[in-house]
């Protein structure tokens, strides 16, 4: 009974925030903080007490650490079926943590319609938790689409107007249309899958465990896999589908960026690992080279574009494209080490990107601009913030001692035996990564100063947030074992699916 509460807490908390706005502007903030803290603590408790040696694997029914099942729409065989294994618990913990941070980082930034803002924020997080827990495909899709609406409002109503006539409403609409259209393609794929299963067994069901047993003709499997892949690729974002991301990031309020980079992108990676690979292992194996090259392309292309940006938030947004490229390579490499690396990389990128966006937000509150041409020389004008930024930039470029290093290292070492060329090219992405990270630091914090006026230092709230994140990132960098242990069973299962498919493919050739 504990899993539904993980979803209900944010939804109820959001409604309370909205209703209590009429009494005070601060009350919704405290309610939201409390809501997110309880979500985080609950998730942590589940992580600490749970036994995550159970996870879905080929052959036999999927087994879970926690499970919840309730009838919803029996007419179509739809159930409210939630389940948790090592992978989902990590993602939920990350969601809870970033939820707390996104409430904290908008404490001063958001001053109007506070209640409604927190309603949207809480509902996004509730939807994301739903995506991470749902193992009924209808329910999964339900949450997948549902979280778009509050995100849309967040960008459209509290966003910053961008440069060159790019309005926040356009950015929000672009985000919505990209994700919604690709989501419908996935819905078509889901329904086709269900119909094929219906023809084979005579049962209407959207249940993950049952659909895993569906048999396909090779051609059909490939098409269905593509249907899923398109939806995930847009959210990921894989390069030809990425153009909504920089706009959305640049225009979103800090909390929106934190959620977008920190967890919304992770839902796509999670979806690939949880659904796309196990449901369509043969087609995925066949598709793997293409996906890996797309990943390589994303790494290089994201890095190059990142280097060319003048807007600091767009720079970080493109760097996300680059970092998620590593995750894509890892997912399709079929290697357990790389897959474990992908999980660590997702966590580490969630933390480091969130921190960078929070720092940008703090900078924006003080300077009123995100344009790096207007910055320069900030190192001398304020304490703490530049140095912390330097730390996270170093983390983003994969400095040993941070979680990002562990993630990227595992991904590269794991994928190398299977795909030496892809891995070699991807490794050059690390060099590009250091170029754009350092150039960001150089342009923003060093160089000639535009003004000598000292800037307001960081408050305790702001300092705690970023230092806490830095601490976690170092912890993940020097002792990633708990994370690796938790996700081991899940990745092992998925890799088993993949490797048997790879073997079949090799034999066929």
């Amino acid at each position: 009974m504990i899993l539904p509460w993980l979803i209900l807490i944010p939804f109820i908390g959001g409604l309370l925030c909205w209703q209590f706005e009429r009494y005070s502007n601060t009350l919704p903030r405290w309610i939201a903080l409390f809501t997110m803290l309880s979500l985080f603590v609950l998730a942590l408790w589940l992580w600490i007490t749970g036994d995550f040696t159970l996870a879905p694997a080929p052959g036999g029914d999927p087994v879970w650490a926690h499970e919840f099942k309730m009838q919803w729409i029996p007419r179509m065989g739809i159930t409210i079926h939630l389940a948790m294994d090592g992978l989902s618990v990590l993602m939920v913990v990350l969601t809870g943590l970033l939820g707390v941070l996104s409430v904290l980082c908008s404490w001063n930034e958001i001053q109007n319609r506070v209640g409604f803002f927190h309603l949207n924020l809480m509902w996004i997080l509730g939807g994301v938790v739903g995506v991470f827990l749902a193992v009924d495909l209808f329910l999964f899709f339900f949450f997948w689409e549902m979280m778009l609406v509050p995100m849309y409002f967040l960008i459209a109503l509290w966003g910053h107007s961008g440069s060159e006539g790019k309005t926040r409403i356009n950015a929000a609409t672009k985000f919505f249309i990209y994700t919604q259209a690709s989501g419908l393609v996935m819905l078509i794929a889901i329904l086709s899958l269900v119909f094929i299963h219906f023809q084979q067994t005579g049962d209407w069901t959207f249940n993950y465990a049952d659909l895993l047993r569906t048999q396909f003709a090779p051609h059909t499997e490939y098409l269905l896999m593509l249907g899923f892949f398109v939806a995930f690729a847009v959210k990921f974002p894989v390069v030809p589908f990425h153009s909504w991301l920089p706009d959305a990031h640049a225009q979103a309020p800090t909390a929106g960026s934190v959620d977008l980079a920190g967890i919304l992108l992770k839902t796509a990676a999670y979806g690939l690992i949880r659904f796309s690979l196990p449901l369509f292992p043969n087609a995925s194996a066949e598709f793997a080279p293409i996906a890996m090259y797309l990943g390589v392309f994303a790494i290089i292309y994201g890095a190059l574009l990142s280097f060319a940006q003048t807007d600091i938030k767009r720079l970080i947004a493109y760097s996300s494209v680059s970092h998620m490229g590593f995750v894509l390579i890892a997912i399709y490499s079929g290697s357990e080490i790389a897959m474990q690396g992908a999980v660590v990389q997702m966590m580490a990128h969630g933390l480091s990107a969130a921190a960078l966006f929070i720092l940008c937000g703090q900078l924006y509150e003080r300077l009123g601009t995100r344009d790096m041409r207007q910055m320069g020389g900030i190192w001398g004008r304020m304490p703490w913030l530049p140095a912390i930024s330097l730390f996270f930039a170093a983390a983003a470029l994969g400095m040993p001692g941070t979680g990002n290093f562990v993630g990227e290292f595992l991904i590269l070492i794991g994928s190398f035996p299977g795909a030496p060329w892809v891995t070699s090219i991807a490794a050059t992405g690390l060099v590009f990564g250091s170029v754009y990270s350092l150039i960001m630091i150089h342009r923003a914090y060093f160089g000639p100063s535009k003004s000598d006026e000292p800037l307001l230092g960081l408050k305790a709230r702001e300092l705690t947030m970023v230092l806490g994140l830095a601490g976690l990132l170092v912890l993940l960098g020097v002792y990633p074992q708990p994370v690796l242990d938790t996700s081991a069973a899940s990745t092992h299962g998925v890799v088993q699916w993949m490797s048997s498919a790879f073997n079949q493919l090799d034999q066929a050739r």
Partner: protein, 486 residues
């Protein structure tokens, strides 16, 4: 044929509606009183709604060769009656409570017209004979000319009425010609008779042309592209509650009879007719959405979006298998609910009548900060029209996609995805307008006590249903699965 109590029971909804018409007419002749006319109409419609339960108890039953009262008909009767009832409450709000305020002309006849039209709808949904179809269709359409032009001192309203009349007459001409051709070939006027006569072997050219022309006639009423030219102007010109009626009850009834024709006479879906219908569907989806894209008038926008929605519905009609009938029922129920809500908000914003409706998009800027609940209703409606989860529209779209996948209509599904993507843009545009910063503009505004009036209560119910059915559609789906033809 003997007329038994059972037949009377089956006809009860239609009889009660007709009696209400007579009572309202006599009432108006005796003494003009807005409240009394409204009360009579509402009581009559509610009784008619209740009597549908009596009709279901004897269904399926053939009443005269013209009508077939089966579960299918009963469901659409409920839909037509309920949407008429909603429109009547909106009309009451729109025309203004007491005399001297609001609408300056005679108010009572509008109720008479809408009831007549609803009676036509009831005939249409149970028609199983070409004559029944035509009687129902004309009874549905002719009063609506009057309703559209009801604000006759407003040029746009008058223009819309005349435009609708001319095009509707043209549509009827096509329909009659098609019927004549079908009769010439098959020698029968009942749907089943035509189906039997032309079954076996390829349908002759005469039959195909006959069905094609009937399709054109009905496509006029459903405003499918390329027979949609009247839609936006009529929706804009007609008083808001009348536009709501046109978009809901009228279209639902016509679609129901089209579906029955398709199911009972399978010849209709042979040969190039299917291709024709596919082209109509794709064109409606794409053009409807594209034309809605840059509208600044919310009534025109809803008009174009209704074209697109009937394009989606055609997917189920073309599939005509397994889930199709159920999917149409689900989608129409969702569509009616949502459209009533959207037009309801427009009506209440234009209430009481002040010469023109509040239909320009800028009048809705920042509505959230003035009327949060009214805005919440419109937001849910827009999300539902766009088919986003948590709203009824999503379940409808889910079913349509399900049917499309089942019958492997990949082209149509592609059009649907593309159309939805375009659609999201303008629905979101309307939605975000509601939340934008308020300009200093108060030209049109809903009265403060709108929530307590019948129209406001109705809107709240509609919004709640749209949300509830989006989250828990099981009861409706179980109910609808039983509503088969025959």
């Amino acid at each position: 044929m003997d007329f038994t109590t059972q037949h009377l029971l089956a006809l009860l909804p239609l009889l009660i509606t007709s009696l209400t018409i007579v009572a309202v007419m006599l009432g108006i002749a005796w003494k003009r009183n807005h409240a009394m006319t409204f009360g009579l109409s509402v009581i009559g419609l509610n009784l008619a709604l209740l009597s549908v339960f009596a009709a279901t108890s004897v269904a399926p039953l053939q009443v005269t060769p013209l009508l077939m009262v089966d579960k299918f008909a009963c469901f659409y009767m409920v839909l037509v009656l309920a949407s008429t009832l909603a429109c009547v409450t909106l009309i009451h709000a729109y025309l203004g409570g007491e005399s001297g305020k609001g609408y300056p002309g005679n108010r009572e006849e509008l109720y008479l017209l809408i009831l007549l039209s609803a009676a036509g709808g009831l005939v249409l949904v149970s028609a199983q004979h070409l004559a029944g179809l035509f009687i129902g269709l004309e009874l549905l359409s002719v009063p609506s000319y009057g309703m559209i032009a009801y604000a006759f001192f407003n040029k746009r309203s008058l223009e819309a009425g005349i435009k609708y009349m001319v095009l509707s007459a043209a549509g009827s001409a096509f329909l009659l010609f098609g019927m004549a051709l079908l009769y010439a070939e098959s020698g029968s006027m009942s749907f089943a008779g035509i189906g039997q006569a032309v079954a076996g072997g390829a349908p002759s050219l005469l039959v195909e042309v006959g069905f094609g022309m009937m399709l054109v006639g009905l496509a006029f009423k459903l405003s499918l592209v390329p027979f949609h030219l009247w839609t936006a102007d009529v929706y804009e010109g007609a008083p808001a509650p009348v536009a709501a009626f046109l978009a809901t009850a009228s279209k639902v009834a016509v679609f129901a009879v089209l579906l029955r024709l398709y199911e009972v006479s399978p010849a209709a879906s042979g040969g190039w007719l299917t291709e024709l219908l596919t082209v109509l569907a794709i064109a409606s989806i794409l053009f409807g959405n594209l034309l809605a894209l840059l509208q600044n008038n919310i009534k025109r926008l809803l008009g174009y979006s209704s074209i697109a929605h009937f394009g989606y519905l055609l997917i189920a009609l073309i599939a005509s298998n397994g889930l199709a009938i159920e999917a149409v029922a689900v989608y129409l129920a969702m569509y009616v609910l949502t459209t009533l809500g959207a037009f309801g908000v427009i009506t209440l914003m234009s209430t009481p009548y002040k010469g023109r409706d509040a239909d320009a998009l800028y009048e809705y800027r920042g509505l959230f900060w003035r009327r949060p609940y009214l805005t919440a209703v419109l937001t849910v409606m827009m999300l539902s029209l766009a088919g986003i989860p948590l709203t009824a529209g999503f379940i409808g779209k889910f079913y349509i996609i399900g049917v499309g996948v089942e019958s492997q209509q990949w082209w149509l599904l592609g059009a649907l995805v593309l159309g939805s993507a375009i659609g999201v843009f303008y629905y979101l545009r309307v939605m975000v307008t509601l939340f934008l910063v308020e300009p200093n503009l108060h030209r049109h505004d809903a009265p403060f006590d709108w929530g307590q009036r019948a129209g406001g209560v109705m809107l709240m119910v509609v919004a709640f249903l749209a949300f509830f059915l989006g989250v828990y559609p099981q009861p409706l789906l179980v109910l609808l699965a039983k509503f088969s033809i025959g």
